[in-house]
């Protein structure tokens, strides 16, 4: 026993008067995925601090990819677990593990995208030195010398750690902390783009201010609920709700405020306005990563809050969620129609997609949860694939995100255009793609739950959405390339793997979805 621990014992001993200070039983095996990632984050910081500059990138890559794989293996190892740990504050159950697994795999692809340094001749996707002023001599110097901001890797790992924690958090405090652990690195990453730094910084600021604003709402909601229930533990809240029916307004207000924070993260209307700006401004690799993973993590938390703690109040929140879902689907789809920037268009599309997933949420059934999880996974892979393509489509000024530059791309680079079309078709929900099965599962659950009219609205929204997905295909394949047309950069193995994986999963999940459906069907119950 070391001296330090001895002194801790001594301290404990001195303060403990009546009740002995018992350390909680924490099964670290259950927390292994989270611990691996957060631990890797710490190691990553150490690498930044001590490794020579040249060695940082390879070390970080090995660490990041290795830890993601290790964490994923740990998640797989936990399959079937249905328990809570750490004094009930962490749930290790089906949905949590599914979401963690999905986040890890998508984060792996996102990490590959972030590691790409072939498509941009001047380096990777990030500013060589974020602190150097845009356009300054310093910045040019750093760029010319091939400096890389390798600090993105610890940030990335912490973000992933937060994401793993978010859907697994079984009390509101953990949830709040996880929210921040997830968000803070993302705020930073959003501002680190190598090109168009003004936009990137603007995105970071908007994301940060609005994110902080929304978490204040979340927190205040948590406070009110705590006031009502006397605990921030979700199962305790649920028990209290069924136990004492009075004092209801405070719960309603608390729930509402809590939902503001969560709906903000998933980008639901009217809390969606940060999405297009941030998606457009952030480095594309980061956009792809966070568009996919944040949605999964936040939906995980939203589902857990609404199902575990407030499942009994379904008839209170369902009508409101109906309206939010309808607005989200329609407004996201409608505004996307007139977008001219592909990243922005995908941002609005992600809003619309969030609406579709909300349809599954409203079903308030295991089938709805399973459907939404399928949808999230499908959406995640498709989205990261789409953004991967965007990173490759470039002109002299970096990524060519204006749609007019995509005209005729199908003739110039048929393979990439075809892949992008597959992603678009999947997002549009055309059969034989994962997006279709996702929509199908979610709609099925909703109709089973009696939300037929919501599905009709969703169908109308999908139609509107199909228009702009198809428009990209029209542009790529049905117009002639001109001198404005962007070129497709040849990526390194990183992006290639990410793209290939995303496309494969998009199609495979569209054709043989059964294994995943089965998996989800076995994982559609929250631990209480």
């Amino acid at each position: 026993m070391t001296a330090a621990s001895m002194s801790v014992q001594a301290l404990v001993g001195r303060f403990a008067t009546d009740t002995p200070f018992e350390l909680p039983v924490i099964d670290y095996r259950l927390l292994m995925p989270i611990l691996i990632i957060l631990g890797a984050g710490v190691v990553s910081v150490v690498i930044e601090a001590f490794a020579p500059r040249r060695a940082r990138r390879p070390l970080q890559l090995i660490l990041v990819l290795g830890s993601l794989v290790a964490a994923f293996i740990a998640v797989v190892g936990l399959a079937g677990t249905q328990t809570t740990t750490a004094a009930g504050s962490i749930a290790v159950d089906g949905p949590a593990l599914v979401m963690q697994g999905a986040i890890l795999v998508i984060a792996l692809l996102g990490g590959l995208l972030m590691a790409e340094r072939m498509v941009d001749p001047s380096g990777d996707a990030f500013a060589p030195r974020a602190s150097a002023l845009p356009g300054s001599d310093d910045e040019r110097q750093f760029a010319a010398r091939g400096y890389l901001q390798t600090e993105v890797w610890p940030l990335f790992l912490f973000a992933v750690g937060g994401m793993l924690l978010f859907p697994a958090s079984n009390d509101l405090l953990i949830m709040f902390v996880a929210l921040e652990v997830m968000s803070l690195p993302l705020y930073l990453l959003a501002g680190l783009a190598r090109r168009r730094r003004l936009l990137s910084q603007e995105a970071a600021m908007k994301y940060f201010l609005l994110g902080a604003f929304s978490s204040a709402f979340f927190l205040y909601g948590a406070a009110l609920i705590y006031g009502y229930a006397g605990s921030v533990d979700l199962p305790v809240i649920a028990a209290q709700l069924s136990g004492k029916p009075s004092e209801s307004a405070i719960v309603l207000i608390g729930l509402g405020m809590l939902l503001v924070g969560l709906l903000f993260k998933i980008g639901a209307v009217p809390f969606h306005q940060w999405t297009p700006d941030v998606y457009q401004g952030a480095p594309t690799a980061v956009t792809g990563f966070m568009a996919a993973t944040v949605k999964i993590a936040a939906f995980g938390a939203l589902f857990r809050v609404l199902y575990v703690a407030f499942g009994g109040m379904r008839w209170d929140w369902a009508p409101m969620m109906w309206i939010v879902a309808i607005l989200t689907m329609l407004i996201g789809s409608i505004i996307a129609i007139t977008q001219t920037d592909i990243k922005r268009m995908l941002a609005y599309s992600s809003i619309a997609q969030a609406g579709f997933i909300l349809v599954g949420l409203i079903a308030a059934s295991p089938a709805g949860l399973a459907g939404a999880m399928f949808y999230l996974i499908a959406y995640g892979f498709t989205t990261i694939g789409a953004f991967a393509v965007i990173t490759m489509v470039r002109d002299g000024n970096g990524e060519a995100t204006h749609l007019s530059k995509w005209a005729g791309l199908g003739k110039k680079s048929p393979l990439v255009a075809t892949l992008f079309s597959v992603f678009m078709l999947s997002l549009a929900g055309i059969p034989l793609t994962s997006g279709f099965i996702g929509k199908f599962s979610v709609f099925t659950a909703a109709i089973e739950a009696g939300a037929g009219w919501l599905v009709i609205v969703a169908v109308v929204a999908s139609l509107i959405a199909a228009f702009f997905y198809v428009r990209v295909i029209v542009l790529m394949f049905f117009s002639e390339p001109n001198d404005q047309t962007a070129t497709v950069a040849i990526p390194s193995v990183f992006t290639t793997i990410a793209l290939a994986a995303a496309a494969t999963i998009t199609i495979v999940l569209g054709i043989v979805p059964q294994p995943l459906i089965e998996l989800l069907a076995n994982a559609d119950v929250f631990v209480r």
Binding site: K411, V459, L463, V470
Partner: protein
């Protein structure tokens, strides 16, 4: 029965072919064509071999059935099988594909200089489409059907959008969105049906035979029926869901138009007969007056619009709309003759559309692709063989007795008349207008003095004739001797009538009471 997976083989063959064609080097366009033709012919051969195995007298609802579990979580399986109706439509698809390939041999080539899509791409898409067409007609799982139904849009979308006229992108998008409206409504209804089946039987299923005969309550039936029907009405297309068709037909290559109108749109009417009627019998009866009204309006509306239409392709599109009115009419009168007639009409219309569009395509190709009637006159003088085929196609379109279209049309009208005298009689008037617009086209384009710009116009060449002859021959032979198709269609129709519980009205002489047969 033998256990050879006929239908799967039939679907896989063109799919594999299309992949091979797509992988061929771009510099060998003629190889792609030859290979595509070869595969299409092989598919046709396989279809014929399968059709010969078909047992018209079998009591089984479907033959050549295969079933493999696909997504058991939703009761979805890969189940295929054909009844007589499916068989003739599969055969129609398998017949028209080689014809279209042959006819469209040089359609795409001329455009490659303009930077349009590649030759091999076009033929690969045709083969993909063939797979999906065969799939859609042979699926016996509703989900599988839906997948084929929607997936078909993609190759057609590219075929219109990449290989077509100046407005092709607009037409392609319009086609796709229109179809998606229907498709998505159908998806909603499909899911609804699944949920209903789950509620009624405990486990949800998409299996056709399990869904038929479910005791769905009438209100639900009406809702679900509407979802399916609108999808089919858009696809077919029935008035007033038709406006995508003229644009799509006018902007696409003749071959695309043939497959689109000749086969693909049949999925709409096929769907009505296969899915709407047996699964929602009560709703079908409830909606029948509205649909019959739509069909009647469509018959006359399409015909009248065609009457003074200047653009030939649009004209044919509107004429098809009119014909689809007849088909829908036959389906929703619930008589054996009407249903059989509708199926025969589908086949006939596929053949006559192919003849019309291909001949018109050959004609237009000889004048820089113009489809305006005003640009043509006196073609008969310069190209008598072309004119002859054109006339034949026109006559087939106006359902001249002795051609298969007559058999279909008359059966439809008779079936309608049997149930609703007034409706049948009114619809019969349509044949006059049909004659008027069809002969107007022939008169304007083929007769009179030769139009300037057409001097020295070449007559049809061997390849073109080779494409048209099989269609003409089938039209004629089946017109005189329709037994081969009636023999397989009729048992399926009888089964259908039993399923929906409809009986034909008795002849007036044998009963003194009401002439109405029962529908329930």
């Amino acid at each position: 029965m033998n256990t050879f997976p006929w239908l799967t083989a039939l679907g896989v063959l063109p799919l594999v072919g299309s992949i091979i064609v797509a992988l061929l080097p771009k510099s060998r366009p003629s190889l792609a064509k030859q290979l595509a033709l070869l595969i299409a012919l092989a598919t046709l051969g396989l279809t014929i071999a399968m059709a010969l195995q078909f047992d018209g007298g079998s009591a089984e609802p479907f033959q050549f059935t295969e079933s493999y579990s696909w997504i058991p979580a939703f009761g979805i399986s890969y189940s295929v099988g054909v009844d007589g109706i499916g068989l003739v439509l599969v055969a129609l698809a398998a017949t028209l594909v080689p014809v279209v390939i042959l006819a469209g041999w040089n359609d795409v080539e001329g455009d490659s200089s303009k930077g349009s899509g590649s030759v091999k791409g076009y033929f690969a898409l045709i083969l993909v489409l063939e797979t999906l067409m065969i799939g859609v007609f042979s699926a016996t799982d509703l989900f599988l059907f839906y997948v084929f139904f929607e997936a078909m849009l993609i190759p057609v979308y590219f075929m219109i959008g990449r290989f077509g006229g100046p407005q092709r992108a607009y037409a392609a998008v319009k086609f796709l969105l229109y179809s998606l409206v229907g498709g998505l409504l159908m998806l909603a209804a499909l899911i609804g049906l699944y949920v209903v089946s789950a509620n009624l039987t405990g486990t949800g299923t998409f299996d056709y035979l399990s869904l038929v005969g479910l005791d769905i309550d009438p209100m639900t039936q009406r809702l679900l029926f509407a979802g399916f029907f609108i999808a089919f009405a858009i696809k077919a297309p029935l008035w007033p869901f038709h406006t995508w068709l003229p644009d799509a037909a006018a902007q696409s290559k003749p071959g695309t138009a043939v497959l689109l109108i000749g086969v693909l749109d049949k999925v709409g009417t096929f769907g009505m007969i296969r899915y709407c009627l047996p699964i929602f019998p009560a709703a079908s009866v409830w909606y029948a007056p509205v649909i019959i009204a739509m069909a009647l309006i469509g018959i006359f509306y399409g015909a009248f619009v065609a009457l003074s239409q200047q653009d030939m392709k649009r004209l044919f599109a509107y004429s098809s709309m009119s014909h689809f009115g007849f088909i829908a009419l036959g389906i929703f009168v619930f008589t054996t003759i009407g249903e059989s007639g509708s199926v025969v009409y589908m086949v006939a219309h596929g053949l006559s559309t192919a003849a019309l569009f291909l001949t018109a395509g050959f004609l237009m190709q000889r004048r820089g692709g113009s489809s305006m009637l005003g640009d043509y006159s006196g073609v008969n003088k310069a190209a008598p063989v072309l004119a002859g085929f054109f006339l034949f196609a026109a006559l087939s379109s106006l359902a001249l007795p002795g051609l298969v279209s007559f058999v279909g049309e008359f059966m439809v009208l008779l079936g309608a008349f049997q149930r609703y005298m007034f409706v049948g009689a009114l619809a019969t008037l349509g044949i006059v207008i049909t004659a008027a617009y069809v002969l107007r086209v022939y008169q304007k384009s083929m007769t009179g003095p030769l139009a300037s710009g057409l001097e020295g116009m070449a007559d049809l060449k061997g390849r073109e004739i080779a494409a048209l002859v099989p269609i003409a021959l089938l039209t004629l032979v089946l017109g005189v001797f329709p037994a081969p198709i009636l023999n397989v269609i009729n048992p399926a129709v009888n089964q259908l009538m039993t399923t929906i519980g409809a009986t034909d009205p008795p002849t007036t002489l044998t009963t003194s009471t009401s002439a109405e047969g029962t529908l329930q």
